[in-house]
Symmetry: C2
Subunit: 344 residues, 2 copies
């Protein structure tokens, strides 16, 4: 892109922590609307390679990185005068990565959480970890249906920025002005984060259904009733019901449950076809977040005391070796209820 | 199926009006749980063919019709002692078909409306037409993500039966007991009917997006924001917001917007690739309900006074020849708002 195409870059300085596909796509998109964008990589060697080749071949192949995107593994180097930090570190590594970083951030600098998942054992959400590391600061959640490759190729995409203080969400929204990443704002931080965190469990269920040879009707039922379960958990944890009908809830869930690229749906598909989880995990390098999350959700729903029959069957199939067809029979033979009233 | 497989058929007498794929699949499914099921066809010749071959080759090929399913085009013949009527006549033919039938139905017999769409010119929903034809009777709406072929092959499927009087919905639910068609109940008749009626307009938009080469992110955005529009229209017409997050709203919408079999998505796909609507309609015998519905919704939203930007762009592209890329630009350049609050 030439200067003529993008005459209106803002004068902000933005840091993106994490060189995965999603972090790189966010940094790339911001380079169109913000003057100074800095991408931090954990690995000095890999940062050097990206700097020299202007590519991220491992996590976002086929995409050219723009000249105004600075790449570094030296955190002090890139933190000077920063106006916003995007944290895009995988949730299971977030705590240890932050602990190893000498991040000296002014209190006014907003921290935007873009990670999805629930931390093992602690059951913490990414923003909980960020809040512990940056006490007293506003954390903004950034979530929605957004395959990194599509965002990097500037295909139209919508996400939500959620914050307790709506002005912080609007600040993030404005950073993406004139890009093809449309940012809606929300005041329901917890709800927006939970949708992204729990969706992968339902994606495994959708995959199992497909693996058993069921069709569109069954998958739609799993997505809908799965969303009811996520909503129920969310309401119990203080989220707003409406949020789960939005981009970060239903939107992200649809994409994860129908895309042929979803790793979590893929794991379910193979389980549904009769493979054992251990064999599947041995055969792939990819991390299927939902396998861990299904264990966390299993514990969480007991703590909170909500009913999540689909999540429970996924846990049983994935971690307790239950036969997938038997799991479907269990779901099908539950008493059918009134659709709306059983939500709360 | 032998008597041993289905020991618990109820002693009801049920009539299904309409021999299309969905009507036949409903009749077929009911044959597993109800002793006496009667399928009415408009065409005496075709009824004879179905009766003799135990097949419906035109609308539900590859499926064997069970022995306890009676097929007739003689309405008097099949209306004796009936306990429930399922109306599965296409919405654009519903009024004239009912007018031609000498249906003498007792006031206590519930009428279940399974048609989707909005009638041209009058903007009536199928249940409005049924209410005019059967005044003073309860109409139950039966809707959800349910490809007829999958239902006929007994793949797990969920739908909603909605009625002002919940006992009527429970009666319909019980008719399907022990089948693989799981029926949830609802008190929001209008909301359940509207979801199915308007979804095809959004499906055309999803197809256009795919035809333009956009990806999963864009499609998810269209489904989510499209559902916001349907919900907005629904609330203005007296429906409950929550209904649209359920099977008859979001569930049916997902299936229609992602399935390769959806005719409406297919029309959008070809429009997005640059074909003209007239040429598309000339080249196919299939009816794409959404083309008509987009005109009805265009009028309806003006009458009711709600904003439906996606539906409006579909109308502009399909009926006014607007360039699809320009339509996307219009949508992308709208001011972005707070996600939840802009609903009402």
């Amino acid at each position: 892109l030439t200067a003529d195409d993008q005459p209106k870059r803002s004068q902000h300085h933005v840091v993106v922590l994490g060189d995965g596909g999603w972090g790189t796509a966010i940094a790339l998109t911001l380079s169109n609307s913000v003057e100074d964008v800095r991408l931090w990589s954990y690995d000095p060697e890999y940062a050097k390679l990206m700097r020299e080749t202007r590519r991220n071949p491992k996590y976002l192949p086929g995409v050219k990185l723009p000249p105004n995107l600075r790449i570094s593994s030296n955190v002090e180097d890139i933190m000077a005068d920063v106006d916003a930090i995007f944290s895009v570190i995988p949730s299971q590594y977030l705590r240890q990565t932050l602990d190893g970083l000498a991040l000296d951030v002014k209190a006014r600098v907003p921290v935007v959480s873009c990670s999805k998942g629930v931390e093992k054992r602690t059951l913490a959400l990414p923003s909980d970890i960020l809040k512990q590391r940056f006490p007293g600061r506003d954390i903004i959640i950034f979530s929605g249906p957004s395959h990194a490759e599509e965002v990097a190729h500037q295909l139209p995409t919508t996400v939500v920025a959620a914050a307790d203080n709506i002005d912080q969400a609007i600040f993030v929204q404005n950073l993406f002005e004139n890009t093809r990443l449309r940012v809606y704002t929300s005041r329901d931080r917890r709800g927006v984060e939970l949708g992204g965190a729990v969706k992968n469990v339902v994606a495994i269920a959708a995959g199992i259904s497909d693996g058993l040879g069921f069709g569109d009707n069954s998958r739609a039922a799993i997505v809908c009733r799965g969303l009811v379960e996520i909503t129920r958990l969310g309401i119990a944890l203080g989220a707003r019901r409406e949020t789960f009908s939005g981009l970060s809830g239903m939107g992200d869930l649809i994409t994860t449950c129908t895309s042929p690229h979803s790793r979590n749906r893929g794991v379910g598909l193979r389980v549904g076809k009769g493979e054992r989880l251990a064999d599947i995990l041995r055969s792939t390098e990819m991390v299927a977040e939902g396998v861990e999350t299904s264990r966390s959700v299993h514990e969480l729903k007991h703590q909170v005391g909500v009913e999540m029959p689909i999540a429970e069957e996924v846990y049983q199939v994935v971690h307790e070796g239950k036969n997938p067809e038997e799991a479907v029979s269990t779901l099908m033979s539950r008493a059918v209820k009134e659709e709306i009233e059983d939500l709360i």
